[in-house]
Symmetry: D2
Subunit: 357 residues, 4 copies
């Protein structure tokens, strides 16, 4: 029941990792937007498996096919249906998952909730679903660019390697110049080394992605419950493996900070502030400054080590990860974070327009 | 447009801090619930100003009046309308706020969004609005208790004083034995001292609240976008001054943790796990273990020191906080955090029931 | 759970006929609208009981009190909370309804659904609830007038008296020149006579109201499920006692008409058509012509004659209407129909604006 | 923005008549339902073109392919994605529609709303979209049968041929024994003759479908805005060409009826009533009796006669229908009406379950 995101620009997704296809419907996309299909595919490619030595070696082309809502290259305002075929679906033997619940996976909870589950490769709980978010997020970004808003994300932490630089000290055009997607070349190398080391140990590691939106004018966001940062937070927390969210405050600890230090003084009537601890949002409404947030990912649950778990009858059994998995998800998740930021912003933008006379 | 919370158990609120009244409507509350009105008022009293030496000294009785949806002490399934009068509304002179935008307040953003604002005491952006959440949250808690779910929150950090204890090392019956609402008496004293010191300096300080829900069975939560923790996160982030959210992981840093250390092994078919880094949720669905999260509050924006800001014409002006404000909001926010947890859980519970045949 | 109307301009209502008050919250009303409070009260007065010899003689002043969302006479974009006190609430003895289910009332169904009900005067199922719709509808009309849209309704049928005239043959400024609210003076007299005769017989009679909206530009409406006429239809059918809805087609029978007779030929690029059988809507989207529809009300269920029914134990008992009831609801329902038309149109207007880039 | 139907059992559809495919996503379908795929296809076949001499002679197989949400023949509770390919998409020349707006079609309104449209075969406004409703409606019916609810519709009026029989005088097992889908064999023949005559004249004719739901227990429906009949009415009015809706009252005229004649007396505590003018619903909540309604369809707008219209530059041009169109839609619309009834009921059923403790 929770497979729709947004109130006006609405994405609904479907699909399991090993069914015939995943896909979605975007309802409420503005009409007349000329789509850059190459860019959409490029965003998908940044998420797809097998793209570098530090990601899973599974191969899947993740090609999106649009079925409706587009005419002569432009959106028509009617729903945009799309599918991405699951090429890898057949073959492999997943019967070992049928009756066993992997530690820190959603096997047990899906079974408990629905009484039935497609156990192959995690089914609906697989992060494969996020490819649909990237399709919609890419379109959302193209729409946002029309109104001057740009979204960008990058890896800021991998395990013990923490960048500790503010987004305005970084050259974000360099995010994709390395495979870990950290704009600081030197730190990127250390991150890559950390991931390779972790993988050799058959282990996995967490990480952090920072997201940035520039060009958002003052006035977006719908208090009191749908505050802009609450919507962004929900969007990020809905991504697989995300456990933490913080907006604004840069490298500063929120709870030990003082008002006299972190209050942002306004400097002109555009809403520009001297500092930006607020992260571009006041009272749940954008204030015209950069919007930024940090998203913390837990380590991937599938490890190449033996772990105890239970089967459906409650017997303790030993399990060990098979196959080709990421040792750290953040490099591939950068485009997902951008997508969720863009989906939230475009929906907020359209909601804000709605209530003007 | 964002003044409703929930899909089935829905709270809609209204009201500005200095209008005639604040209030709300709860639609979708189950019928036949016998309400404990004293308990509702008690929860309101935990939030109200003037309750102790470390909170604002403003006096407001915050008495809730129910107008509908209750018959002979029981809910009838029809909407519950309620109001809380603003006793303090008249008098004071707020004209100095008319044309000035306070730093790190929502004055500027409301003006930018709507082109008009009730500037008295922050208007709609005032945290006074959260009293309505407490009314609904108290009812939500009473309903949850009927199905064995209990919600509890407490202060875990005030400025530099961090408790660093897990909820299961604490006696949560002691939360209200001190005015800061930290269940550890010794740490509570240090927190109180910190707040008093900060206030003397005319400054404000941030803090953190930990929330806990026990008794939630496996199966609650609606992936992929309405994952249980995403809904809880949104709920918490919608509270005034909240900037950060983390679920599970106890005192452990998310991004530097390893799969081999933080995977939770299942120990029996009820879903019980050996550890609970997952915070009681897997794949967005409750797994039967304790649900817990940490909510980080920034320092109150109103400080008793001079700050630069601008007026509506863009002139730089100096401003200094007046009146009676909290130096730290977390003691009064404990009940708000509990309320948002309860509202999220009760809605999730009812949603989960909805899709069974 | 169904007490909210609209997606952007949202009305949520609460209240039983004999509770303390009824009221509502309007969320999503555009900011900066200067309200005409006298007009709002005037619309309420057109609905209130006791206004003429052909309506119920109950007396209730139906005075609305606004609690929020308005500052210095203008809407602020924040939720507008309002209440209407129930003056008549105390006194009367309703215990005879406690255990008896009146024929063609909602007594039985509320009891069956909720297991509990406020039986006094019909409780939540009373048409008293529609007063809240009139408050919101009056504000919606004021907003629509800003964009050139005018809404008007009138009585076209009372029992056997059918007007059989198209809206453009009528002078709608005369609707309120008689107590039955039919713009044709002669027919109005016959309608009044019919109602008086029916009342003398202790019986009740059905009727029909025609609603008209002028000035709606081409482009409003959200296919495929939220077609403009589907939303208007739902709005009308949600009014107490409404059993039928028809849009367009004037006096013509829909099902026996032929394409060659009822197709509306376009005559210029504004969308103007030679005829208007379509009722101003094509494919669920307004086409720039007048929007009109007919709404059929069943007779009031409470009659001053003996009827058989059952009590809660299933015993057959005899019941006879008490008190002061309408013999025909349509004169008082004109303003309710206008309100539901306005609420639907304003929401559709704002939704349409939302998805432009 | 209006392409989703339902609150819990939610159908979202996409697709234009001449794009690659149409399709949809069902979110919120209960888990564990064993699907009868033959039955789903059979319902589609009852709607598809080319099925008899009185329907359009276009050929399209309308084969549905399910992509997700089903595992080993059973629903899993996750979203059910499906597509129906458009086989007829290529070929034909639709350029004559590019710049011309057909009378009483949605060509003009889509252009006015979106500034762009897929003009081929009506695009999104084509009734082809309703095939997706039939897929979801068939699943909804299968779920309803599990709780004892059966939905059935039939043609009751074609042009001047009106059946004038109540559903309980008819043998509804005979609906599909003739091509017009009227359960009375003799009247069916007259209807077929009427359609053939109209077609020979190059004209089109309206009609009426009656829908019936049996087995709905007392208690379904969500007042005050989402009354059961208001939701059914909206569902029916959202079907292409529907202009009128009436529930209950059988062959009786609503507005000229008297309370003493049409009040339904309760006869036992199950809610059974002596008569059923109420159509199985009181106060917006089902009362345990049969639910029935009448749905009036206007004549198809495409006629094989010359008509005046305008082109995009406002020039008057003459147009004449081409191709293979229905002279009367009701025979093919029976399954669509059943689908919308089933979709409304299953959603109402699940909503009603949601708010029990």
């Amino acid at each position: 029941m929770g497979n729709t995101f947004g109130k006006i620009f609405r994405l609904t997704t479907f699909g399991e990792s090993h069914g015939k296809a995943i896909g979605g419907i975007i309802d409420g996309c503005s009409a007349g937007l000329e789509l850059d299909f190459e860019n959409i595919q490029k965003q998908l490619d940044r998420r797809k498996p097998g793209q570098s030595k530090i990601t899973t070696q599974r191969k899947e082309s993740d090609t999106v096919e649009f079925l409706s809502g587009i005419f002569e290259g432009k959106t028509t305002g009617t729903p945009i249906g799309f599918v991405i075929k699951n090429e890898d679906q057949k073959s492999k033997d997943y019967s070992y998952l049928k009756d066993t619940f992997r530690p820190s996976h959603a096997d047990f909870t899906y079974q408990a909730k629905y009484g039935i589950r497609d156990y192959r490769g995690g089914g609906r709980s697989s992060a494969r679903e996020t490819a649909c978010r990237v399709v919609a997020g890419a379109i959302a970004q193209q729409l946002l660019i029309m109104v001057g808003v740009h979204v960008k994300a990058y890896v800021s932490v991998v395990g013990s390697v923490k960048m500790n630089k503010c987004h305005n000290e970084l050259d974000l055009s360099k995010v994709d110049t390395n495979i870990v997607r950290c704009p600081d070349a030197e730190i990127a190398e250390r991150m890559i080394a950390e991931i390779e080391q972790i993988r050799k140990e058959g282990d996995t590691i967490g990480g952090e992605i920072t997201a940035l939106a520039t060009g958002v004018p003052a006035g977006w966001g719908e208090p009191v419950f749908d505050k802009l940062h609450a919507e962004i937070g929900k969007a990020m927390l809905s991504i697989n493996a995300v456990h933490g969210f913080k907006y604004g405050f840069g490298g500063v600890d929120i709870s030990s900070s003082r008002g006299s230090k972190v209050n942002d003084s306004l400097v002109d009537e555009s809403g520009k502030t001297k500092t930006n601890y607020s992260g571009g949002i006041q009272g749940g409404i954008s204030n015209g400054n950069n919007i930024y947030c940090e998203v913390a990912f837990k380590p991937v649950a599938t490890i190449m080590q033996k772990q105890d778990t239970i089967d459906k009858d409650g017997n303790i059994v030993e399990i060990k990860g098979k196959g080709r998995h990421d040792a750290c998800v953040v490099p591939r998740a950068v485009t997902i974070v951008e997508s969720m930021m863009a989906l939230t912003l475009v929906d907020t933008y359209l909601r804000n327009k709605a209530h003007k006379i």
